[in-house]
């Protein structure tokens, strides 16, 4: 709620809803007639829709921080992974990873593109469905992770409904411990 209207509009414009401009126009009109808080506090159905678009955009960025699994090409200091982004959020996602691993080149496959960080810049190349041939590294740490993940489960507390709510199915194929 502490987000300003202009920050919210910038977020909503990243959403993939084809009607986003129409919704933004409606909330701007309401803000003029009923006050800024009316819109930012989501009092009307349109303001709620607008708020939901912002939330969905931020949720996508958050999930990309959570669920992308990276592989390392050690000799080239490259960390790469693949994920699904439905909104225009790649710059926010890349910023997270480059801020976390500045010594590495980050390479994210978000089909049909691959995005590569180099210093402060991000390059993009269309790859469609093509596989990218990177040196295959034998990675014992992946096996460690799979075992660790398996061992964290407490059978006495099984709750599949909660599990599915927390990890939407569309992301499963990117998560080695689940797919």
């Amino acid at each position: 709620m502490s987000r300003s209207l202009s920050e919210s509009i910038a977020l909503a414009l990243r959403h993939n809803d084809p009607n986003k401009e129409f919704i933004i126009e409606r909330v701007l009109k309401q803000a003029k007639e009923k006050g800024l808080s009316y819109v930012l506090c989501k009092v009307s159905p349109e303001a709620k829709l607008f708020g939901n678009m912002c939330r969905q955009v931020l949720n996508e960025v958050h999930r990309a921080r959570m669920f992308i699994r990276l592989n390392e090409v050690k000799e080239r200091k490259v960390l790469y992974g693949e994920f699904l982004l439905e909104h225009d959020t790649i710059d926010m996602v890349m910023r997270h990873y480059t801020g976390r691993f500045p010594q590495h080149t980050i390479m994210l496959i978000i089909r049909p593109y691959v995005y590569i960080s180099r210093g402060k810049e991000i390059f993009k190349e269309e790859i469609g469905d093509r596989e990218i041939n990177l040196p295959v590294v034998h990675d014992e740490f992946k096996q460690y992770w799979l075992d660790f993940y398996k061992n964290q489960y407490i059978p006495e507390r099984r709750n599949m409904k909660l599990f599915q709510k927390n990890v939407p199915k569309k992301y499963w194929k990117y998560m080695c411990e689940i797919c």
Binding site: P102, Y149, Q152, N159, N166
Partner: protein
């Protein structure tokens, strides 16, 4: 023993520690010769089939322990395989898992091998390797072992984001029933006091937490909430966690809903302005299992309801079932420029109207009917601790 096997044993042994938070002051490695970052909102990296989040590499340094706490798998008398990580081995393992984005940080606990000071030193050594050799600046949660000295707590605070120690029981009498070798004040409260000093000196970024095991010592909810409330007020505790006791033999476990009710009450104390005296306990000192504590409060205090949504003070809005802190803030802010007239407006901004309507007036009109018939059970009494 191979690292893989050690991780299997020492990871599984740490899974009952609940704290999975990874939030803290924002920090990243951009423009620095370091690795890692901390985000404001915290990040879970996966979820297990019990719905719990996996965000930290939660491991024990060793599962060897000289103590014999009755509820713990690592207790001395339990006959099973013991092992231990070397500090460098664990630091390397962690950093490789972090780079692959499997985990958001390290959670390091341990059994007490030889002595508290010896084991705590080794835990600190592991964190030093991460901070200085691997130049890792991300999130670390370090457990304080029972009886950790002030010097070691200070060093641990300088190196990690969060410190914790599990009280497990709410008072000395209960602790004596299940962990005879531990002294509640000397071994558990004192390290928290040291950590509080470190926190106040600005050494600890993400605060101090603790955990209670619910139902292991036949304690009541009122005892647990009394102690957690004391810790919030007197020891600057950031958060208490509750974990329903999973019996190691044939005992009946406590109902999981009890743990849930404790979390609800804890949230009410931390974010909704509830005081201990506001909770209604049953004759046995436990919370009502059928209804949540906020609803019980509202039904028992019906003279305080309904509240007028356009006028009620912020703290009264927070007492209405179905209104959380976010919705209360939105109502408070929006009504400065606008007068609510419809149920649907409140629903849009996040009020759960099915729960809230009986307790609200909207512009002088009842938003819903009050529950005339509700029975909370025969034994509802006031706070009894």
């Amino acid at each position: 023993m191979e690292t893989e096997k050690k991780l299997e044993i020492l990871g599984a042994a740490a899974k009952y520690d609940v704290c999975a938070s990874t939030c803290g002051p924002v920090i990243n490695s951009r423009g620095r010769d370091t690795i890692g970052s901390v985000t404001r909102s915290g990040i879970c990296h996966s979820f297990t089939q019990d719905g719990r989040c996996v965000s930290l590499l939660k491991v024990l340094l060793t599962n060897t322990c000289k103590n014999n706490c009755q509820y713990c798998v690592n207790r001395r008398s339990n006959d099973f395989q013991r092992t231990e990580f070397e500090s460098e081995e664990l630091a390397h393992l962690f950093i490789e898992m972090y780079k692959r984005n499997y985990v958001e940080g390290l959670f390091l606990s341990s059994g007490v091998k030889n002595s508290t000071a010896h084991t705590m030193q080794k835990m600190i050594e592991t964190v030093e390797i991460l901070r200085f050799k691997y130049r890792y600046i991300g999130y670390i949660h370090l457990k304080m072992l029972p009886g950790t000295s002030e010097d070691l707590v200070n060093r641990a605070a300088e190196l990690s984001d969060r410190l914790s120690i599990n009280l497990e029981c709410p008072n000395p009498d209960r602790l004596q029933l299940i962990a005879k070798e531990k002294d509640f004040k000397k071994d558990l409260i004192k390290p928290i006091t040291h950590a509080q000093h470190a926190l106040r000196a600005g050494k600890l970024k993400s605060g101090i937490t603790t955990q209670f095991v619910v139902g292991a010592a036949k304690e009541s909810d009122s005892e647990i909430l009394f102690t957690s409330n004391w810790l919030y007020k007197q020891r600057d505790l950031r958060r208490a966690y509750f974990s329903a006791y999973i019996p190691l033999d044939t005992e009946t476990p406590p109902p999981l809903i009890r743990e849930h009710r404790l979390y609800q009450s804890d949230f009410l104390m931390r974010f909704y302005g509830f005081e201990l005296k506001d909770f209604i306990f049953e004759a046995n000192g436990n919370l009502n299992l059928k209804y949540d504590p906020k609803f019980v409060y509202a039904v028992k205090n019906r003279d305080k309801f309904p509240v007028e949504i356009n006028k009620a003070p912020f703290e009264n809005l927070l007492k209405v079932p179905g209104i959380g802190p976010t919705a209360a803030r939105r109502i408070y802010r929006a009504r400065k420029e606008y007068r609510f007239t419809q149920n649907s407006e409140l629903k849009n901004l996040g009020v759960v109207m099915k729960r809230a309507a009986p307790f609200l007036l909207i512009n002088g009109r009842k938003a819903g009917e009050f529950y005339e018939q509700i029975s909370l059970g025969e034994h509802c009494a006031g706070f009894a601790a």
